[in-house]
Every structure is written in C-alpha cells, then in structure tokens.
Symmetry: C2
C-alpha cells in the first residue's frame, strides 16, 4: 500500500493524487464505505484541498467530464458554416471516447464501480445528458432554418450519443480490449449515414440550386436492390453534375 | 384550503389524496421545503401509508411512471413477429404521451417543478433511461439476427425517446395547449421514416424474397427533386409488386 505523501505537491499532482487515493479506496472498501476523510488521509492533504477540486465525492469518480464538456463546446463553437453538422457532432463525440481511451485501466475500473453504485449511475446519466444537450444546441443552431430543425437536432444528438455509448460500453465490458476509437468510428458512421443532410430526410426547402439542377436523372434498378444502394446511386449521379 | 379527510378512504383514493396534497404543498412552499410529514398531515393519513405507495418524496412527483413502464413492457411483449419493430416502439412511446395527456394541468405543474429542482431533474433522467432501455431491449431482440442489430437498436431507441421528449417538452412549455398526441405522432413519424427497415439503412442480407423481386423498376426524376421524394417513389414502386 502506497504511503501518504508528506509534502504538498503542485496542484495538478494533488488533484491526481486525490483521484488515485479515491479509486484505491473505492476498489478496496467499496464506494459507499469510503468517506472524503479517508481519501484525503490517504492522499495526505486536507479536506479543503479535496473540495477545491471536487464539489462532491461523486465528482472524483468522473474527474475529466467538465474539461471534456468544455473542450466539446469550444470545438463546436470553432465550426465553420461549411462543416457538415452531423460530421461535426460525430467528431465532437470522439473527444469523449478519446478521454476514456487515454486511460483504459481507470476507465474500466470506473465502469465497474458505476455498475454497482446507483448514485453514480444517476450522476453518469446527468453527464450524458449534458453532452447530448451540447451536441443538440449546436445542431439546433445549424439547422435553425430547417423545417423540423429542432426535432431533427434533438433526435440526431440523441442518436450520436447512443452510438458513442454503444461503442464505449462494448469496449468497457470487454475490459478495455481493442481500439475503442475504431469502434466508435464504426458506430458513428452508422449515424452519419442516417442523419447527414443528403442521406434520407426531407430538406426544409429546395436545396438543389446548383447549375443544371433540373437535369433529368434516370435510375434503373432491380426490385431486389436494397434501398440504400439505390440512394447511393442517385446521390452519386446528382453529385457528378 | 381543502380540509384533511378524517376517514380512511379506499387505497386508490388514498394514493390520489397523497399526490394531491404533495403537489399542493410543493406549489405553495416549494419542493425542498415540503416534508413527507407535511404531506401526510394534509392528506390526513399516517407516514406508513405514504411509504406504502411511494418509496421516497421524489416518487410522489412521478406517480405513474412505474405503471406506464409496466404497460410498455407488456405492450412490447405482446408484439407479433410481423409487426414492424420501429412502428411498434413508436406506438409504445405513445403510451407515455397518453399518460401525460390524461392530466394536462398536473403534467404542466410537474414540468415546472422539475425545472426548478435539480434532484427531480436527475430522477426524471433515470426514468427516461428506463423507457429507453425497455424500447432498446425489444429492438435488440427483434434485430438479433441483423448485422449491427444491437447498435441499430440502441440508436433507434434513443431516437424514439428523443422525438417523444421533443414533442412532450414542446407541449409542456406551451402550458399544455393543443393536442400532444398529434405532436408526438408528427415527431415519431420523423423517426419512423428514418429508422424503419426499408427506409434508409443497408439491410443485413437479401430481403427481397417476394415473387417478382427482380423485376426492373425505372425511376425518372429531376436533379432538383429532394432525395426523400425519390426514395418514396422507389419504395412505392417496390411496394406495388
């Protein structure tokens, strides 16, 4: 067992020590059985230092979400009008997966802990909701001119979050095996294919303002051809105008 | 102010009295300032009666979700293999909207309360998550044979919940004006159009086993025709085989 550290380390180190001490105790004794006093004793710091970094015991379990939410907000705010909004929110969701992927052991431990403690599960739901809201806010702005823009934004944001969490959970359940960024790419590509403006849903108004927009396109297909292949063919014809 | 009821009413009435008393106090004094003792005093029953119906003060704010979750689970369990899974989960989501629509005044009051009390917001997130899980469980079973069936199920369940909540929030924010069932139909139709098996995504395998499946279909369209209209035309041609 690691000895407590008698000297006061610089702040980021202190924060990391508190996280390390907390997880050591959560895993050894259980989350409910560990108090903030236990954590600060093991980390060798005072109670006030703990609360300087973490508003509550729950927050030490999810120490990086605030930073990640900030990063996501800044990333989306830096978008260009020419960015595909769905591609952009998928890229924003990858920031979250990257955070988890940085420390697989910690992520897997936390996942197991969260499964066991109802309060942490609830806390996690509220974090997920904040990510979804951040993505939704961006999409609502980008689609403000669209008919059903708000509905579309809310549903697409939920779809992106669900796809991200699908890949994340699968990776965490496997114990952190394999490349979670590849998994999330696959899941997000499924969403992008569904929700990207040109893929499936009715646009708000006439979008085909390109030269030659009224040229006739003829599609010939067999009944057995899957619809996605028909769509792809038509899109590729339209795109080559 | 209503007098407390001195005789013991039959159980469902007692439950309703507790809900009515709780909401009267929540609105008058605020949620945090109201104790379970205050509620039982106003309702004229004992503390044990309260906890017979509601595990906690939070539960009296959302008294019908347990029943609604049960109804949803039963409704989905009673599905036929021939039911379109996406249509089925949309119908299941309508059960929730119907519950809210039964008592607009109560639903709007509760919505306002939930905006103000962080603990209730968290509670609500966990209820929403249970609905999403119930829908997702059903879709995962129905799509067990599909490539990406689990991903598709998770994303579609999230999309249905987001569309439902979009319509619900809009209706609640308006103060309960208009027909929420019409609103949710419109929102769910948007999701159904996106996620129903034939609409947009690649199927897992060859699905076109119908007679005459390989007949040639010709679609002639202008470049300016929105993609959704092209898809609709092709689908309607395929459907008439």
């Amino acid at each position: 067992m690691a000895a407590t550290n008698p000297r006061t380390p610089p702040k980021p180190v202190m924060r990391d020590s508190l996280i390390a001490a907390a997880f050591r105790l959560f895993l050894e004794r259980g989350y409910e059985q560990t108090t903030v006093d236990d954590i600060v004793t093991l980390a060798g710091v005072g109670r006030r230092s703990f609360f300087r970094y973490f508003p509550s015991k729950e927050d030490v379990v999810f120490p990086d979400h605030e930073q990640c939410l900030d990063d996501m907000t800044r990333f989306l705010a830096a978008s260009a009008d020419t960015d595909d909004p769905v591609v952009r929110v998928c890229d924003a969701a990858r920031l979250v997966m990257r955070m988890y992927a940085e420390n697989p052991t910690f992520s897997v431990q936390r996942y197991r802990l969260t499964r066991e403690v109802a309060g942490l599960r609830t806390y996690e739901l509220s974090v997920v909701w904040r990510y979804e809201k951040t993505l939704g806010d961006y999409l609502r702005t980008r689609w403000a001119d669209r008919k059903d823009g708000t509905l579309r934004a809310n549903v697409a944001a939920a779809a992106v979050v669900a796809a991200h969490n699908h890949a994340l959970r699968h990776w965490l359940r496997s114990g952190g095996e394999g490349d979670p960024l590849e998994e999330v790419d696959r899941a997000l590509e499924f969403v992008r294919g569904t929700w990207s403006p040109d893929a499936a849903a009715p646009p708000a108004g006439p979008d085909a303002s390109a030269e030659g927009a009224d040229d006739v396109v003829v599609v010939i297909t067999k009944r057995s051809t899957p619809m996605w292949r028909v769509v792809r063919e038509v899109e590729s014809s339209l795109g080559e105008g």
